[in-house]
Symmetry: C2
Subunit: 366 residues, 2 copies
């Protein structure tokens, strides 16, 4: 699908520095579901490059070399951001002598996308074939994710031996990701007027053991292929009661279990059922983790080339999507992941440059 | 304030049976804040009675005899109901051979109002002077209550030696009422992404001891002037969390303490602070109870005349308002209080008749 160019759309100069390119693409707002202007700008810029074959699906752009190399690497980044909160346009800051770019998207994850765009233009003859993917709707419900749609419409574009997601990882290589389960743990009772509480049966009081078990829960650290994944089991929401004078007949505790990629989704469900034995449990969201994938030969070369110490990724990212398709994947991008979604998100320019250099070194075989 | 009569407004026949009158006034819907039509009908009916002096304040009607008797009794009932839920018009049922009136308002408390209206018309020369009060906005926030407004605008109308509220009490005399306190017990923490829960501090987990203390709490039975008041301390609402992937920084448990009328409001607050020691507590609603008031000579005569065994009232009612004004007050009305607000509320016709007979016997000195 080709979308007509909007008049006055900013043109992207892919020969600019990765910092300037970060700034340029941050200043084209692209909150989830409003990525069109940025997708058009990326589309236009990469179609001007004769060494790339370009595909478009909605606001996802795929550009790939077709050099007939023995191996292919997929390098992907989402172009959407969480909502802007008076944190655009980008500002340049000096923080203890370090040059920073501040503003929505600088960390999650337009600095990573900028590096990818720059290298997509520059590397006309990399040592492996490369499939670049810039996609929409990552920050919202999984079923809207551009990669999800692309996997349904053009599964052949995911062919590859290794994948790198540019999600912020402080310029380190973060392997795999934890799995993610959300469940409702529910108590029920009998409603009555609170002036005659003994006629009712208080569902909130019955939730006491649920909170006790959560408060006493000792999360595990699980080693998977040499990386230690830190798990967690937490209440993320609790809700019960309908009025100030009614004994509640329902209390729901939403729990979130982040589990190491060595556990299957079935094992994760079983664990949660065991912890909350005796209570009604409804699993409402379940996504398996991804093993680090660092035993793949390309992954080992990559880690050696960028000179980084591999670490585990705690949050669920789209590496799990590649992992599920049989493509080992890691996260490697500029920016501190704990600043993602933060109104003060900001990225050191030196870290953008380091990721650029690391990727260039490996991809060009220099 | 006199409101113009609406054309087609149903006229009330106060010589009808109390059951027919119950049916007639239930079939004039009067959900709180929409009492105008019924207030107009009552106003018109009582203004036609030359033995009563009538006052109106908003949708509250006061009608009183001015016979110069040594004693005056206030007899009051609210004319509003909770929302209708496909339970009007009134239906007549046979339940195990007992004739019942079913529908919104039959219990809370139009059967009681019907008896009052009938006796107001009939008793032209009672043994005590009577101030009849039919008021609006009882089922909603206390500050909207018609008695509250009347006490501010026309405090002299509350003069009396004894008061009877027609709230449903199964045709028994229920003395006084429990006090009512609502408070928010609050925990706070630190928000973080749930993939990195160890950076945050989970406010919901910290609420575990609040629920533990509620679950373990043993409510007291307190004897006051010979009646036993059953207390209660309950969570009525709980709320915490903002999203499925965020460690919550706030959890609020709303607790409701129903306390015996022998405790002052200060003592009630102190008790709740003691139970939840160590937690932030905000009292959001506080109303003192009312002692039974059965030691007043008129009250003793009344109980003897209607032949009822006095019992404690658990729920807070407007008797506390009279009690606070120095007028001993009891509840006496047809209908099972546990059916109040129930979609299947229904009252035995025999109970309406019994209350009518009881009140008539005492007021006429027969």
């Amino acid at each position: 699908m080709r979308v007509a160019r909007l008049d006055g759309m900013p043109a992207l100069d892919l020969t600019a520095s990765s910092a300037d390119l970060t700034r340029a693409i941050c200043d084209i707002p692209s909150v989830s579901d409003d990525e069109r202007a940025l997708a058009d700008a990326v589309d236009e810029a990469v179609r001007a490059l004769p060494h790339l074959e370009v595909h478009r699906d909605g606001d996802t752009i795929v550009a790939r070399t077709m050099l007939g190399r023995a191996q292919r690497v997929v390098i992907a980044g989402h172009i959407d951001t969480v909502p802007i909160n008076a944190n655009l346009p980008v500002r340049e800051l000096d923080e203890d002598g370090e040059r920073m770019l501040w503003g929505r998207g600088t960390v999650d994850m337009k600095a990573g996308v900028a590096v990818q765009l720059k290298l997509a233009a520059e590397l006309v003859a990399p040592r492996v074939d490369i499939t670049w993917m810039w996609y929409d709707h990552e920050e919202v419900a999984a079923e809207l994710n551009g990669l999800n749609r692309l996997a349904a419409n053009r599964p052949e574009l995911f062919a590859g031996d290794f994948a790198i997601l540019g999600e912020p990882s402080n310029g380190q290589v973060e392997g795999g990701c934890n799995g993610n389960l959300r469940a409702i743990v529910r108590t029920t009772g009998v409603r009555s007027h609170s002036a005659r509480a003994w006629i009712g049966d208080n569902a909130i009081h019955k939730a006491a053991p649920i909170l006790d078990r959560l408060a006493a829960y000792a999360p595990q650290d699980v080693e998977v292929e040499g990386l230690v994944y830190r798990e967690g089991l937490n209440a993320v929401r609790i809700n019960g009661g309908i009025a100030g004078n009614v004994i509640p007949d329902l209390c729901e505790v939403e729990v979130n279990y982040r589990f190491a990629p060595s556990r299957s989704t079935d094992e994760a469900v079983a664990h949660v059922r065991e912890v909350f034995a005796g209570f009604e449990i409804e699993v409402v969201d379940l996504a398996g983790g991804a093993r680090p994938g660092l035993d793949a030969p390309l992954a080992q070369e990559f880690v050696a080339a960028v000179g980084a110490e591999p670490r585990p990724k705690y949050g669920w990212t789209d590496v799990a999507r590649f992992s599920a398709l049989g493509v080992p994947a890691v996260n490697y991008g500029p920016g501190d992941p704990s600043l993602a979604h933060h109104d003060d998100e900001r990225v050191p320019v030196a870290q953008i440059q380091a990721v650029e250099s690391g990727l260039r070194a490996w991809l060009s075989g220099a």
